[in-house]
Chain length 337, copies 2
Amino acid sequence: MKKRITIKDIAKELNVHHSTVSRALRNDPRVTQKTREMVLAYAREHEFQINMNAVMLRGKANNAIALIVPNINHNFFSDIISQLTNLAYKKGYVISVFQTNEKYQQEKEIINTIVQHNFAGVIVSIAKDTVKSDHFSVLRKFGIPLVFFDRVCEDIIAPKVRVNNFEITQQSTECLLERGFKRIAHFTGTQDINVFRDRDRGYRAALDKYNMEYRNSQIITDDFSMDLGKDIFTKLWDSPDRPDAIISSSVHLTLGILLQAKAYGIDIPKDLGIISFGTLLSSIIIQPSITSIEQPENEIAEIAFELLENMIIRDNQEDELIEREVKAKMLNGDSAR
Amino acid sequence: MKKRITIKDIAKELNVHHSTVSRALRNDPRVTQKTREMVLAYAREHEFQINMNAVMLRGKANNAIALIVPNINHNFFSDIISQLTNLAYKKGYVISVFQTNEKYQQEKEIINTIVQHNFAGVIVSIAKDTVKSDHFSVLRKFGIPLVFFDRVCEDIIAPKVRVNNFEITQQSTECLLERGFKRIAHFTGTQDINVFRDRDRGYRAALDKYNMEYRNSQIITDDFSMDLGKDIFTKLWDSPDRPDAIISSSVHLTLGILLQAKAYGIDIPKDLGIISFGTLLSSIIIQPSITSIEQPENEIAEIAFELLENMIIRDNQEDELIEREVKAKMLNGDSAR
DNA sequence: CTGTTAGCGCGTTCAA
DNA sequence: TTGAACGCGCTAACAG
């Protein structure tokens, strides 16, 4: 590690005290115009860069925000990351992104790292694996503001940004029912997570409303991958009680379904209705277009950031329950153009 | 900001010296079993978390690596981010992701932040906007290891991971020529960036080899968006010298092209051949499938990380020119299944 | 085995 | 207006 230039180095070189240099660099008014210019010139010339570790050790607030997501390379999350990064940049914050790979253990270690490095705040969407929530309490203990989005811990008091999963899934299911589908399967994730639980509740509410039942109704997958979607769909399709429609919680599962449907020569939507969460960018050019459920990623990012920034500025942890809900929308493939 | 518990607090409480606490926490052998256990128990109970700012101020190496990309929400980059984050995690590093939005100014400010926070190393793919490279020299000055991937600064001495853009674009163009296409347009990015420059050189090399010329050949876009792809294609298609094939540098441009082609009722690939960079996930279900050029994101991440880790471990900045090239592959849509 | 001391780089006293 | 001294939390060197 190269030795870096410090304010003391500058002070020695210019025959002033390092506290004077410190003041000059921060534009403290009680320093001569001349001295300041001398210091600034020297600093610029020698590319002085302040050591933030020293600054923060003295208690100055960090300007780094931690963002924790299960997967960086899912569009839903990468869109939110991108937007949050831009918002933060405008306000002088820096976002560090962490990926849990859906693992509780990694999530926990990440939280510790965040505490140890004095991050200013944390925005998180929890792992599928996360059923305990003890690791979040340490943030509260250390006074680090926390905001949940999308996938939340129900038993931790912190602001939460939710998507209207119940409502939109109910609506989507009803849409299929109204189009005459009778055996609708629901491909979704673990029921430990609010998002997938809410979606399944919405799905069942719609079935109940129409007095429908379907034996193979709920299919829970641990993983959202194209291959898994393909496999699950294949089994289901070849089973005695074949579905005539599917609601899918993930673009990747949907791609697997579509792929296999194509191999089987299944006519969509005649023989198989599909509604899928997630923006299937190319659904607009797929023949036939499928209906997708679009989530407002930018709005989620904006609200989450706003909530967190408020807490950071007011040096405050919320004790009341702040919940904000944003609305996903159904986008019919054929009307997308 | 809440006051956090420190080793001194623990020391006072247990009537030992804080240096003893420090040793106990780090499992220094020269501390009694009993003392250590006492300290560890107390620390665990009170959720002590070490203050990394203090540790780093003393000179200990940081375990945080900075990753700078133009856009987090492009699949090429988000795949690399995801993979890098996992590799880093296994080795005990943490990745912080920064987004330049293709702006030189942001890139520069990010570099300063990185220096100020003493990051252990930097992995970067530069912004389209970045024509100067002065801001990278500060990293060298401060002894922070640097690795470029994909989009590189030619005049900075640092390890570079490149994709065989020249070769693969030449090959793709020849592929189209051999299939009988004669007026092939090239949709690509600014020629200030090695990636797009290399692709265009490969494209032209193929044309030259076949003694072909095409007036509208090179179309440079500032931005890679679906809308722009659609607009540009529309203009081109309606021009007197209509293309019969396109090589596209971006999935988003390609989607725009496909969308408009569909609206025009253009038969692909009979009336319009298309080869596109980027994994068009759903190309496997698009009818007709289009040929894509797949880049080895995981391999890029692995090599970049390995190169950087070597420099970090050896506390070394490379003076020799390390260049590694990875190979993109053409993937024919119809053989993808 | 444990305590003492010093210092990492900076900002904030308090004094001059 | 500037300087001197101190301390943020931690670890290394040295002393006991």
